[in-house]
Structure formats: C-alpha cells, structure tokens
C-alpha cells in the first residue's frame, strides 16, 4: 500500500542533485539559544536544498526546530553560524534594510493566524506588499491569483466578514502578489477546520502546479504534509529524513519513525 520509501539522507546532502536549481539552500545552519548549562541547540548544522517550482513540507514534532529552520531560511531571525541562501543571495549576513527589500520582492509569507490587517479589505490586504515596496500592482497577475484562489466575490470584504479558510486564501494571494522566489507557510492550516484546511492546501498545491511558484510549508500534520511534493523530516535540530511524493500514511510513518528514534 505504502509505496513511498523512507530514505535516510546521505551525508553529502541533497546538494549533489544536479538536475534542478535550488531556490533555497542551507549550509551548516546552526541556531543556539541561551548560554552555558541552559544552552539549547535549536538547529544543529543543517544542510538542505529546496528545489524551485516545488511544494516542500518541513515536518517534525514540537520543538524539533522546524519553525527555527524556516525563520532562518526566510531571514526573519539571525543564525548563530552557517549560511542560508535564497537563489544566489546569502540571507545570513544581510542587514535589516536588505532583508526588508528581500522580503518585499523575493519572499512571501503565510501565517497560522492569517495576520490580515482588519481595517483593510481583502483586495487592499492582497496588494499591500506591492504598495509598501512602492510598485504598481500587476492587475493581470492579481486577476489570475484571485481566480485561482476563488476570491473574486470577496475582494471588497473585510477580514472580519470572511471565514477562516477565505482569510487564509487572501493571505496566500498576499504572499504571491509580488511573484516571490519562494513562499514560506507556517502551519497554514493550524487554525482551520479540516475541510477549510484541505481547501487551503489544494490551493497551495495549485499555486505550485499551475502558477509555477515555490512553497516551503512547516507543519506537524502528516495529512497536510501529504499535499506536498516532498517532505523534509526534522528532529532535534537535525535533518532526519526525506520523503518524495508523500501520502498521509508515509508522512505519518516518517514522523513515527522520528518519535521512535527520539524516544530510544
């Protein structure tokens, strides 16, 4: 039944794959919190590549370091050591100004809490990143996004007038409006019921398949991870596995394997 094979990552990492350009890369990426006795290694020398035009899920149990990995990859937090790249740009080592510019044009975010601005309409929320960057909105791209995400009748509504699923779809449109190199999604279904969650995940997958976007999603839910093209497993701050074309079952099996490893 489960055809996917759980493959431990080889030592040299996935960087050796020559065929596709990595949109996002991490090299020996390390993050520690605290000092001395109380020191916690949230991320411990991670090497990982994320292919462009793919939907990748980072999955791991609570406290595995999956969120920290995403924060560092996106340049939201600073690394203790190591490097991370978006395309050919080294994110680690950019100053705040350059990071802001990077976030405006090359990175999009989808949050667990949606984080829409309550005083703006759906359309205003979607176009905000472009406006903050001082650019003009590509109406055609906006139309495509709105159609794909099924928001055309909701554009004039404020977030309080939208359902959770609709709000998250607005958030996805906002993340994609600037045609970024990569979109980071942090537990995008965490605050949604399972039906809305499934809907949102389908939209994320469609964004990748039909619109050619790159999406990296953090989740602890195997069912959600199964929508991705690939699952990167993480445990105790280290990459612990990689599943291509996952199903809910293979993802769950991977996660269980990690737990067994962790508890052993």
């Amino acid at each position: 039944m489960d055809t996917t094979v759980y493959v431990p990552i080889p030592d040299e990492g996935t960087a050796a794959r020559p065929t596709v350009t990595p949109a996002v890369r991490a090299r020996a990426l390390t993050k520690t919190y605290g000092r001395g006795e109380a020191q916690v290694r949230a991320l411990d020398g991670v090497d990982v590549d994320f292919t462009a035009g793919r939907f990748t899920a980072i999955m791991g149990p609570s406290g595995s370091g999956k969120s920290t990995l995403m924060h560092l990859l996106a340049g939201l937090d600073s690394a203790t050591s190591g490097q991370s790249f978006i395309g050919s740009t080294e994110v680690t080592g950019l100053n705040d100004k350059a990071l802001t510019a990077l976030r405006r044009t090359r990175v999009g975010f989808v949050f667990q809490q949606f984080n829409l601005l309550p005083m703006f309409t759906a359309e205003q929320n979607i176009t905000l990143p472009v406006e903050l960057a001082g650019g003009t909105v590509d109406r055609q791209w906006l139309g495509t996004l709105v159609d794909t995400l099924g928001l055309s009748k909701r554009l004039t509504h404020r977030p309080s007038e939208l359902s959770g699923g609709q709000q998250q779809r607005v958030a996805i449109a906002r993340a994609l409006i600037a045609q970024p190199d990569v979109v980071f999604a942090d537990e995008p279904t965490g605050n949604l019921d399972s039906r809305s969650g499934a809907e949102v995940l389908s939209f994320l997958r469609r964004s990748v398949r039909e619109l050619g976007r790159t999406i990296i999603m953090v989740t602890h839910d195997p069912a959600a991870a199964a929508y991705a093209d690939r699952v990167v497993l993480i445990a105790d701050g280290k990459i612990a596995g990689d599943i291509t074309d996952p199903t809910p079952e293979s993802a769950l099996a991977g996660l269980d394997a990690l737990r067994t490893v962790a508890s052993r």
């Binding site: 995403m70 802001t100 405006r104 975010f109 601005l117 005083m119 942090d186």
Partner: protein, 878 residues
Amino acid sequence: MIRLTLSQMRRSAGRLAAAGLAIVIGTAFVAITLLAGNVITRTTYDSIAAQFTGADLVVRGVPADDAALDAVRGTDGVATADPQLMTYQQLEAGGRTIYQGVLAEPTDTSVLPLEVADGSLPEASGEIALPTDVAERLDAAPGDTITLVRNVLEGDQSSEEDAWTEVREQLTVSGTLTDPYGAYSMQGGAAVAPAADVAGWEDDLAAPGEEPVAPTTMLVTLDDPAGVEQARTAITGALTNGAAASGADTADLKVVTPEEHAEAVASEMTGGENVMFTLFVLVFAAVALLVAALVIANTFQVLVAQRTRTLALLRCVGADKGQLRRSVLFEAAVLGLLSSAVGLVAGVGLGQAALTIGRGMDLGVPLPATVTITPAVVLIPLAVGTLVTLVAALSPARAATRVAPLEALRPADAPSAARGAGRVRLVLSILVSVIGFALLGGGVALSTVGQEPTTGLLLAVAGGGLSFVGVLVGSVFWLPRVVALAGRLVGMSGPTARLAAANTLRNPRRTAATSTALLIGVTLVGMMSTGAASARVTMDSELDSRYPVDVTVSTDLSSDPTSVAAGDAVVAPVPAALAGTVSDVSGVSRVVEARATAATVTGDGVDEGLAVTVRGVTPDDAASVLRSTEMVEPLAPGTVVVPEEVSENWDITDGQALTLTGPDGTLDVTAAVTDLADTGMIVVPDDLSSLDPDAPVTSLWVGLDDPSDATSVVPSIQDAVADTEAPADVMGAAVERAGFQQVIDTALGIVIGLLAAAVVIALIGVANTLSLSVIERRRESATLRAIGLSKGQLRGMLAVEGLLIALVGAVLGVLLGLVYGWAGAAAALGWAGTPVIVVPWRDVLVMLLVAAVAGLVASVAPARTAVKTSPVEALASE
C-alpha cells in the same frame, strides 16, 4: 484578588506610568495653587503684623476721633495713642508725578516700622520723608523741595464741578525711608508727614457736606509693656464709658495685641484676594484634571481590552462581576493615590523653588522663606487626584464586568473596535450643543444689537460653556468622521500614510478621546488668544477714532480751559528744542508743531463767557500724523474744526457761523463739529495768525512708525520730555494703547500659561494612546515587517498616526477657539464699538506647530518599541 490586582499593575506599570503622569501634573497644579494662596495670606499677615510691630496694643472697631483718642490717652499706663492714618496724595518733581500713600507721623516714632535711610523724619509742618525708591524716581534728596498737588474746595460750592480748585504746595524732603519688614510693600510703600498735615489733607478730600471719616485703628504704646492685660481692660472701660455718654456704638470695639490684630485681619480676608486668586487658578486646574481624566479613562479602557483573556479566565475560575469591577477600581485608586502623592510632592517642591527664586529676585514684597503646608494643601490634591482617577475608571470597570467567560477560549486577536456609543448620548449632545450655541448667539446679539452688555455677556458665557460640553460629549460621534476625512487626504500620499490613517480609525472611541483631550486645551487657548486679539483691534480702532494723534506732547492740556476765566487760557509755549528731542526718540516718525492762542467765541446761543484754545495746523501736517483723518477733513481757510467735547461746553452746533476774538484780531468762521478728542478748536495757520500773529507752539503732535510699538516708544517719549523738565504732558491714543496692550498681554500670558498644563497633559495622552496601540498591535507590526514594511516605514506610520491625532485635535480646537473667541469678544466689547473679527495667525500657527511637533515626538518612543518587534513574532502562535 488584591494580590492579583497588584501583580497585574506591576505587569502594566509602563502603560500606567503615562496615565499616572497626567494625574501628577494635575495634582501638582492644584497643590501649587493652594500653596500660592497660602503665600498671599501669609504675606498679608506678615505685612500687617509689621505695620504694628512698635505698638503694644491696637484699638479697633471704634472711630479714632479726638474724643476716643483723648479717652485712651487719659487711661492709666498709656504712653501714646495715635490713629493709623494714611492718605493718598499726588507728588510731583522734575516733570514726574507719583501717587503716594502718606502716613501720619505718630507721637512715638518707634511705632513706625520704617527706618530712616538718609536725613530724618519730618519735624515741622511742610516736611515729608519719602520711601527711598520714590525719592529716587522724583530725583529728590533730603533738603530738596517737591510739589504736592491736590484739589481743595474753594469759592462757590453750589456746583460740585466748580467747587474744586487745584492747589500746589511745596514740601521739603526731610529724609528717605526704607521698609525693612515690608510693612507697606503691598500699598506701594509709605511716605511720612506730620500728623496734623496728613489729617488736614485727608479732611480736604471729603466732598462738600461730607464729614471726614475718622480712621478706625488706633496704635497705643504703654509706659510699661508688661502691663498689657491691665491696660487692655482699662482702655476698653474708658472707651465704653465715653461711648455710652455720647451714645456711640461700641459693639465692634476690640483692644488687641498687634499679633492678634494681624491674625484677625488676615482671617477676615476670606472673600479677599487670596480666595479670588485661588478660585480663579483652580478653574484652570480643573480643566487640567478633566483632560487628565480623559487620558486615564482611555488608558484603563485599553488595559481592560488587552486583559480580556485574563479577565475571562478569572470569570471561568469563579470570579464574579463585582470582583472584576472592584479589581479595576482598586487599581485606579492605587494609581490615583500614588500619582497624587507624587504630584503633591512635586507641587510643594516647585512651590518652594519658586519662593526661593522669588526671594532672591527682590520683588519688593517680602516673601516667606518656606511654603506653608496646611492640611488643605495635603488633603485636597490627594483627594481630588484619587477621585478623578476613580471616576475616570468607572466606565472601563463596567466594561471589565461585561467580559464573558467564553472569551478565554477564543483565539487572542487584537481587541477590535468597541461598541459604538449610545443613542441617548447622541441626542443629549446634539440637544445641549444646539441650546448652547443658541444661547451664545442670543448673548452676542443682546450685547451688540441690544446694547445690554452685562446680560448679554452672562448669557454668552453660559451658552458657550453649555455648547462646549455638548460638543465634547458628542465628540465620539463626529470626531472619528473628521479623522477619517483627514486620513483619506493623508492616505493619498502613500501606503504608509494610508496604513496610519486606517489605524487611527480602528478604535474611533480611543482616537476621539485622545483628540478631545487636546481639543479642550487648544480650544481654550485659541479662544483666549482670539478674544485678546479681537479686543485689541476693537479697542485700537476705538482709540484711533477717539485719539487720532498717536501721542500729544502739550503744555495746555494740563489745565482745562473750561475752568479758566476769559483771557486766561493757558498758552504756555513748548520749549523750542522739545520738538527736536521728541523726534530723536527712536520709533517716532514725525512731529508736527501746533501753535495756539486763546480766543473768545461769539455766535448764536454760544456760551461766550470763556476763552477757548485755538490751534493752527495745516491740513497736510494734520493728515501726516493722524491715524484717522476724517476728523480734520473739513479743515480749510474759513472753517474751524470744533471737537465734540468743545462744542458741548460752548453750545456750538455743526455749520454754525462763529466769530473768534483773539488778542490781535477777530475771525469769522464756520464751525465743523467732529469726533476729534481735543480741548481746543483747530483752524489753518493763516487764520490763527489773524487772531494772534505771535501764537506760540503749545503742543506737539507725534506720529509713531508703528503704533503697536507704543508700549516701548511712549515711555521713551515720556522720559525724554521729563528730562527736559518742560512742564508738558504726554498723552494720546498710543499712551492709552500702551497701557491697554500691557494689560491684555499680561492677562493673556497668564491665562495661556495656566492652560499650558492641560495641553501638556493632552500631549502625554497622545503619546500614551500611541504606545498602547503599539503594544496591542505587536503581531500586526511584525506581519507588516514580514511582508516588506521597512523600519523607516514603520516609524513613519506611527509618526503619521501621532500627527493625525494631534493635528485633528489642534485644528478643530483652533476652529472652535476662533468661534468662541469671536463670540466672546463680540459679547464683551459690543459696547465699545463694532467688534472686529481677527484671526491671530501667529498664535494659530504656533498652536498647530506645537501640536504637530508634539504628535511627532509622541510617536518616537512607541516607534522605538515597535521596530524592536522581530517579524518572527508574526509567526508565533501565541
């Protein structure tokens, strides 16, 4: 619950600090006001006590007439007894005039609290000892003579007007006096003259048929100062017996020691200066506290909103509504009490500092060394501060009770807009505003058109107050709309501004309350400065038309020609050099010399008995120095311009044919009566020559470069004229304007200074609202940073928010202030002429600038907190 409340306060300490500061300022204001009232009372007591330092007993409550004095002097143990008599007289020397209180010299000069600095006390009639500063101003040293000018009753006493005659007497300065205890500092110092002289002058002041009023205080010295009690009984007995014989009333008789007397007088001042002062200033303290209350209410509203989850959790675990309400109120009480205590200490500290500085500055009034702390000074600020905080927290406390336990289970979204205000409030505010503005309009109409200034002003003040209350109560409805409009305008400038504009509208109540706090202060300041500017201009135009010449330097104005018999009209010439001296004064643009002679007037029905001063001025010269030329417009050969006052005195009508007879000829002229304020008629110089070819220059008409500089130029002219010792008077519109302007500017300065406290508190409120919003919007700020808002843009967004809140409050305040200022000026000055509507542009600009800068500054600290927020927080789930 108390422990929980306190720990919650500790967590919110930063957020409470700003609200606390508002109360600190308010209570410090109250404390300083009360302290200042005490200082006034204290200074009065000290000065009264000093006046009687040398006396052993003070007799008061009965007239100190000869009978009473004899009775006291005849009492065993009494060494001397003198009435305390002070008369105000006009002293002149070297062209300077001073009104001075002159004290009767007591028999025992050790009773005087004054010390001789130079020379001696007066020993004979016709001598006077002057306070050192007065002697300096009059440039008189011991041995010099000065002139005492007074009006006495002489000749025909049937008509009061004619009965008074000016008498000039020479007095010899016997010495100069200092007032080391400040006994007479509040009366402008005291000169001393022999008792008989002073009594005589005082008696002459009584109007025809009036008995001179005897002083009611008597100073007594004793042979043996230890026998105070015995003497007290003896004097009381002697006076009571004497009064019983003459049937006089001795119910108020009191024989007291100087200390008892000072205390009694000081405590009698309860309707006096100190109370008036305290009440006046407390009105402004009340405004400051009202603004502070708005800031506090706002803070607590936000705190309750931010604690919704905690409050709901408490409800879940069993807290009832009363406990939550009490928790919020307890928090308010603690905050109020702490802040009030800090405010009290700050107020006392500031008051003491002001006293210390004041003492060092030699203000002429001996100030006490330390502030007097009475129970009232401590208790009133504490009580008022705590009470205001509690009242302000009432509505937030009610909001806390409305939190449902269920809310603990909901996701922690930023608290969104509170429910709108009720319909009752809307109706009430509209009703009150409409009635208020109607009353205001009615008051203005009554005062200007109806010529009922007192009723009109009262009505206008009541209407103004009422309408302002209505406007404030309703601000929650209309202010957000104005902010929305302003926000839309600002939002066109870019996404940052649009974000800011949208943010100010998320919580209309909070924005409205913050702007309203500022609106109150700015409206009052704007009203005062508009009112003052309108009053100034209205009075200016009134003065311009009454006194068309800025300044007149003249020798003939000092004596009224109406009271001088024919041929005696004073035509003392102005010294030839004076015109040059005056035109050398900086600020003087032009000096016109006007010649004059005395002439008699004949004509139909004209009162021919008296001589009139006739001036010769060319129309061009007149036009060159007159502010308003219409009053001399008819001036031409063959026409005499007759000032209205002169026309009334001589019964001359406009257009009447007159014959003027001067020392050397006669002249037939036509009268043109105008509003000119002068005591003489005006003809062209050629016509004057036909009356008197040798007519001397008796007055200088002086034009100023800028009449608004009168405050500085007029005293220079007065000094220049005084220095030449020419017997010339300086008067005119500019002189009155200078005095008037000083009064308005001083009053305006004081009022604005007092209102500044309210404005400062309101600006603290703006900063507070912004920082509370920033705390509340942490996640949102992080989201914005994550989707590409730069740190600069985040700062800019908050700066625009601060600007919007502050400027909307300031602009609306200025507009309301203009309306109230104009209405007030119209109601108060309607009688003085058509009120002129003035916009005090400079003040308006300053107010808007202060508000804008303050709005920007208020955003600095919150912005610093906001940019510290890492974008990671947007991703955090809790």
